[in-house]
Amino acid sequence: MKTLKEAKPGETVVVARVHGKGALRRRIMDMGITKGTQLFIRKIAPLGDPVEINVRGYELSIRKVEAESIELV
């Protein structure tokens, strides 16, 4: 299973499923990361975490721990 955590900066990926539960999962989905959404990995923060991605035309910051729960196609 490939997750968003493994994606490299400059890659464009597609979401297969959001794992986890409760507030965090809902938050990820509320921000527009849902099944079939295209994500562009823009960069990794200077200290190695979090990751900046472009989703639905805007920039979003997400930690690697959280990115791990986003399964990619």
Partner: protein, 713 residues
Amino acid sequence: MLKIALAGNPNCGKTTLFNDLTGSSQYVGNWPGVTVEKKEGKLKGRKDIVITDLPGIYSLSPYTLEEVVSRNYLLNDHPDAIINLIDGTNLERNLYLTTQIIELGIPVVLAINMMDVVKKNGDRINVQQLEKAFGCPVVQTSAVKGVGSKEAAFKAIELAKKGKVLVPKPIFSKPVEDTLETISASISKQVDPTRLRWYAIKYFERDEKVLAAHPLPDDRLENVETTIREVEDRMEDDGESIITNERYEYIEQIVRHSVHRFEKKLTISDRIDRVVTNRFLSLPIFIAMIWFVYYVSVTTLGSIVTDWTNDTLFGTWVTEGATHLLNSIGTADWLNGLIVDGIIGGVGTVLGFVPQMMILFFFLSLLEDSGYMARVAFIMDRLFRRFGLSGKSFIPILISSGCGVPGIMATRTIENDHDRRMTIMLTTFIPCGAKMVIITMFVATFFHHSSWVAPTMYLLGIAMIAFSGIILKKTKMFAGEPAPFVMELPAYHLPSLKGVLIHMWERSKHFIVKAGTIIFIACGLIWFLSSFGWNLRMVEDVDHSILAGLGNTISWVFAPLGFGSWKGTVATISALVAKENAIGTLAVLNGVADEENTRAVIAGIGSMFTGVSALSFMLFNLFNPPCFAAIGATSREMGGIKWTMIALGYQVLLGYALGFVTYQLGSVLFLGHSFGFGAVLALVIIGIAIYLLVRPVPAANKMILDRGQHAGA
């Protein structure tokens, strides 16, 4: 009286629209979660229309505090209409909230904001298509330029007067809509019929707040559960995800039909971001930025204006003018004393720092409004997580360097309870504008204007936050899953001068008002207590005053910290009213009404402390609980006496320990005192601190931690 609510995502220009409509100068920011409380104002020229600015939210989910506040307001306070403001440059995510708002059974006007930017980008939005899709009027606005705001308000008033409830269209797939029908039938007796669809969807999502507020009888609940599970099995997903996915699918469809996007090049925002959050440059840029802000506002420009206001304006002009005036009227001596020594001396000393703080606030507002603060959270997150906090805690902490009250309020954007509580507890360790007054005065008195003491105090503040974060995270109270850090990085924009000035003024005003009220009264009171004896006659020597008597009874508490004189005690107590009061009080107690104001205060303070006890006094006052206003904010945000007491208790403990260790060891090292019981105790305290820092996480709490991380992952 009509009530109109403003709702929308963070950063969509809601507060700007609110200011435009109500003519008030609400603070406008550019990082997520600026409006932490709803604010009300009357529509300009229409006393009968109340506009409510709700906190910026992405969804009406039951999870974050702001979402729940907004949701409860919209459901329970029955606004007559909602203006849903939408960022035209980011339609998809903004319309997601719209799909939820239109289900509430309240008339809605869609206001598409930032149309100026949309047009500049060469994009086109088909308004008629959107009106058709959502079944509500759509207005194009550009709140910054004041375009379209009135039209949006008038449309909302018109709708509110008609009272025509918006009937939401089916937007989900057939199986989901069918299930919603079934649920509606089962719950129709439990809930408000105009919101049947809203509640049906909430049951489908298994929204815990709604389920708890409107419990179903067991047999019907089972019925509902079975139908939901059927769809879930068929779609291989859970109710909450199905709804979210389908909302976005519906929006994608609409956007495809109604928006024409111009092919995009790299925007200016992207280009700035490439440099500012660059792997190698971002940290140096950040440090340089903070250093520059404090260098200008504290050391160079700031100290020039402060010296001028203290020495020339209040020290000479106002004092001499007032003395002259009072002599010519021929007022009584005690009144002269009250006005010149008590009030002008005390309040003036504090007001002298206003220009300096305004410069600091100006820069902080500039950084915030430009969108840089969100990047700072992005850059700093990794570091802060080590201390059991998140990058989001950095924003409250940075704001607290201006004032702790808005800093504490800003913690509401942190979803996780533990992280929020911890940030509230620790954020005031960073020296605020008022504590800067204490630092500046003590640096001038004891450290010969050396430039390293003030930055060291900030660094120590940060170190204490880190230390406390690490040791508290290991306790049972704070063990738990780390808060999510899913945060929007808003596009950079050039802050408007007007916006920055409003923001700066809002913050400074707070300080000036405090100087004019609380500090004014406190200075008068302290002057009275220090000028009169118990027999209510004026005393020649302050040592015989009421204040000296009161101070003496509790000064033993502070004796181990090296400032057990009644003056130091009284200054510390009065600093709880407002931190800068410590200096005002010391000024009054040392009878300041001299030509050379600052120098007299310095001489007075200089005679009270040694270098070591001065440092101890300063540390205790910086780290013990903040002023009453901030304590009030703490208790409000903690939501309970228990957590408030924990926070205050920890702050007292830390402040006292720091002062104690500094004074006891400092006396041995620098003043040649003998190594006694106090010094041994100080070493023990250091030992305990190191143990707490390096000890492994207790097994019982580790389990909680692991479980938490698991659930979070």
